[in-house]
Structures are given as C-alpha cells and as structure tokens.
Amino acid sequence: MKQRRVWIGGGIGVAAALVVGLLAGGASGEALPESVSYCLNCHDDKQLSLTLKDRSVMSLYVNSREFAQSVHGSQLICTDCHARYDQNHPSGATFPSKRAYVIAAYETCKKCHFDTYTRTLESVHYELLKGGLDAAPVCTDCHGAHNIQNPHAKRAMVSRSCATCHVKVYEKYARSVHGKALVDEGNQDVPACAGCHTHHQIQQPGTTRFRLSSPDICIRCHGDQRLMSKYGISTTVAETYLADFHGVTASLTRSASPAHQQVVVTCVDCHGAHDIASPRLKGKEAMKAAAAATCAKCHKGASPDFPAAWLSHYEPSLRHAPLVFLVDLFYKIFIPFVVIGLVLHVLLHVYRMSAGR
C-alpha cells in the first residue's frame, strides 16, 4: 500500500513536470538555438540588404517568428542550409540576380530531400529550367524558404503557389466543384492541383500520353466506393467508361509508343478538366449537350441522336436503355438454357452408347 502511494506520488510529479515543461516550451516557442540567434543579430533587421550585380536590391531580412513557426524551425539551424556562409561572412554580391541566387540556393534542399529532388528532375518544370527559363519554379517557390509549412496540412496553400504562374487555370479550378470545396469549405477529399498533376514529377499535360492516362487520375477517387459513398456518387462512372470502346482504347494504348496512340474521348472531354462542375447541378440536358458536342468533334456526320449510343454512365435498365437491358436479359436466360440442354443431351448420348452396348 505504501509502495503504491509512492508510485502515484511519483506519477503526479512526472506529470506536473511534463505540463510545466510543455507550457514553458509553448511560451518560448520562438526561443531559437544560440547559433540561429547569432545570425539573427544582423538578419532580424528589415533594412539589411545587398545590391547584386544587376543592381537589384535583395533583402537579407529573416522573419525570426516565421522561421521559428516553420517546420524546420525546431530542427535546423541557419548553416544547415546556408553552408557556404560559414566563413568569411559577409561574402559580398557574387550573384548576378536575385533569381540566380534562388536557383543556386534551392539545391541545398536535396541534402535532406534527395528522393523528392530527383523526382523534380523528371518534371516539366525542370525541363523548362534546364532550357533556360529562370522563372520555372524551384522548391522554394512553392514551399517558401524560411516559412515552410507542412504541405500535407495546408493543401490549399500549395495550390495557391501554383496560381503564382498559372493564374487563369487556378481561377477556373477555384470555381469548379473541386476547387470550391477545397477553397471555401476546406474539404480534404477533393483534389488540389497536385492531386491530379502530382507534386514533384509534374508532367506536360498537353501530350496524348497524359490524356490517355487521365481517366486513371479521375478513377483513383471516383472508383473508390468508400470515398464516393460519402458524397452519394456512383462508382459505376469508372466501370462504364472503362468498359466502353473508348475506355478500352485509352487504357490499352497509353503505354504504346506515340505513333500507336490515338486521341480518344476521356473524362475531361465531357466534364472539363479544371472547370469540372457537378453533373447534378448542371442538369441532364446540359450534360447531354456536352456529350453531343464532344462526339461531334471526331464523329463528323453523325446524327443528333448519335450520343444516345453512349449510355451516360447508366447501367442498362428498363428505364435507361431498355433495348440494351432486354437483349442482355434475353441472353442471360437463353445461354444457360441452351448450354444445359446441350450438355444433358451429350451426356445422355454417351451414357446410352456405353451402357446400351
């Protein structure tokens, strides 16, 4: 009994110490390591700046509060990234422009994030950078530098960074059914930019290959029964497209060489890409008109009735496509009927031939 009281007392003591420690930690959230404070002696000054070779002025101010609150605030010190300024600092204006500095400085990220960095090397943005377009984004353009936040927790923030360059596309997206849910409601299920275009290995979306594989992007969510049931959306949209002639073509040719690829209709042609609206809100007539316009793009000379060949993701039933439903039903009954009859006949024949002799 005595021993137990000691235990409890000890427990309370430890808990109290923890609470005090946490409170202290919370209060001193901006207390930075000594080496960081040393740099901030100068760099916490908003006036601190540097004139580069192109005569532009680059601010050298670091917001200590922002850095402390960033994901790296409690993990890194200045010289982890700014290694070259270890000695002989300040070093003077060695960079031709601010952009040139940024492009040189982002390379430091790969010291820790090497896998991510190598993925960016296969992206369309790196292609542009390599081709001499300085404006092509590097790590810090999307993630920030001293103020880096956890990108998984702040999805809308990453998408807004895309908007820095892709303004019109972002505006379209922000008005779409996905964009509205993310921006207005903070919905975490809908895709932000990176949800479809990936984060680092972003591909050129104008190619046929990207187009042919685009249904996979939609199906990742729209084929997920648990996710879709949250919103009352049927997953048959994916199955019906994949079972269709065009869905088969897209699926089976996307890994082929460009010469063997053929542009076929995919999800985005009727539903839009960045400006996707809810078909329920758009209404049946508007969706039918969209389908008709899409068919007409390739199928010249088709009748106005031609889009009826596509069952608009409906499974055939007496209400939707009764003819298709009845043909299917007929064979579902007829095939087993014929097959069972024939098997019985063959078996009876064999039985009589062997037993009758």
Binding site: L242, F245, V248, T249, S251, L252, T253, A256, H260, Q262, H299, G301, A302, S303, D305, F306, P307, A308, A309, W310, L311, P316, A321, L323, V324, V327, D328, Y331, K332, F334, I335, V338, V339, L342, V343, H345, V346, L348, H349, V350, Y351, R352, M353, S354
Partner: protein, 228 residues
Amino acid sequence: MRDVETSEYVVRFSFWARFQHAAIILLFGLLLLTGMPQKWPYAEASRWVIEHLGGIFVTRWLHRAAGIAFSCLLVAHLAIAIAGVLSRRMQPSMLLSRKDFRDAIDNLRYYVGYAESPPPFGRFDYRQKFEYWGLIFGALIMALSGFILYFPILLSRVLPAELIPAAKVMHSAEAMLAFLIVLIWHMAGAHLTPESFPMDTSIFTGKIRKDKLRREHPLEYEDLFGKR
C-alpha cells in the same frame, strides 16, 4: 458384306462443303482469338494476346477483316445453297421437317431406355440440322451486329443510336453462345462422341466409311444402295 463395308467409302462432302468447313475453322478461330480479348480487355491473358498480335488496333483490324471474310462466306453459302436447291442440282437436305422434331423426341426416348433403337436418320440427323441452323442464324446475328459496331455513324443516320450499345451486348453474348455450342455440341457431339472418337474425319476427307453411313444415316444408305 460387313467386312467389305468397313473398307469401302462413299463420297459424302463436296469440295465446296469441305472448303467451307476449313474456312470456318480458320475464321472462327481468328475471330475468337481477336474477339475474346476485346470482350475482357483487362484480363491478363487478353493483354498478352493483344500485345503479341501487335496492339489493340491490329487486333481490332484483324477482327474486322476476319468478320468481313466470314460474312462473305455466309453470303456465298446462302446464295449457292438457294441457287442449288432452286435449280434442283442440290438436295435441300438441311431443311427442317416434322420428322426432325419427332426424331428428337424418339431419340431422347431411346436414350432414357423407352425405345429399343434410335430413330433412323437421313443424310443429316436433327442434331446436325440444329447446329447448321444455329450457325446460319448465329452468323447472321454476328454479321449484322458486327457491322453496326463497325459503322455506328452510318447506322445512327437511319436507326435509333441505342441499337449500337444493344448490338455490342448482342455481339458479345451471341459469340459466347456460339463458342459454347461449338465446344459442347460440335466438339463433344460430333468428334469426341464414342462412335467417332477421337474425331470424325469425313468433313476433312470428304468420304465416309460405308458401315458408318449405314449405322448413322440408314435412310440415306437405303436411298443410295437400296434396302438390304
């Protein structure tokens, strides 16, 4: 007499009939090979076949080419058969008669032990006639639905476009039925059956052994050689 009959042969099939049978084996086989992977395009085996044929476009092209050839064969067959029967150069031996239905019932009675012997069959028995007409109607359905799928835009100008997905279901299901009938009824019934095992060669050689003809087609035998 019997010993002579086991070594004597009677001509049973013309070159045209044998040619058609061989062409159907080739075309039906090619249509199945290129069609089944399109029915189940996401199956591993289908992917393998499509890849080895040279991709989905080649597979579809082969399927259409074989389909056109098969349709031509069907038209030629019907034209020659109708012309032959009308000009009395061919016997309408495939036409169904009331006897065939009676034979079917009598034969089933024999199978279950209610009759001592099977009914005497003519040049073609009811099983062969059933398969023949199944093939003719099946081929008509396949050709018709196939051409709807081949020229959907043309169809939509004259008929409701809902026929296109209906034709797809029909083409796919009828093909399945045809495949199963060939597998069960034709392979098991005509070749693997005890009296012909392992196979009935007459459609390939054009000849039938005299004793086999007497056993399996007694009425035709009587027509040719008179009653014994």
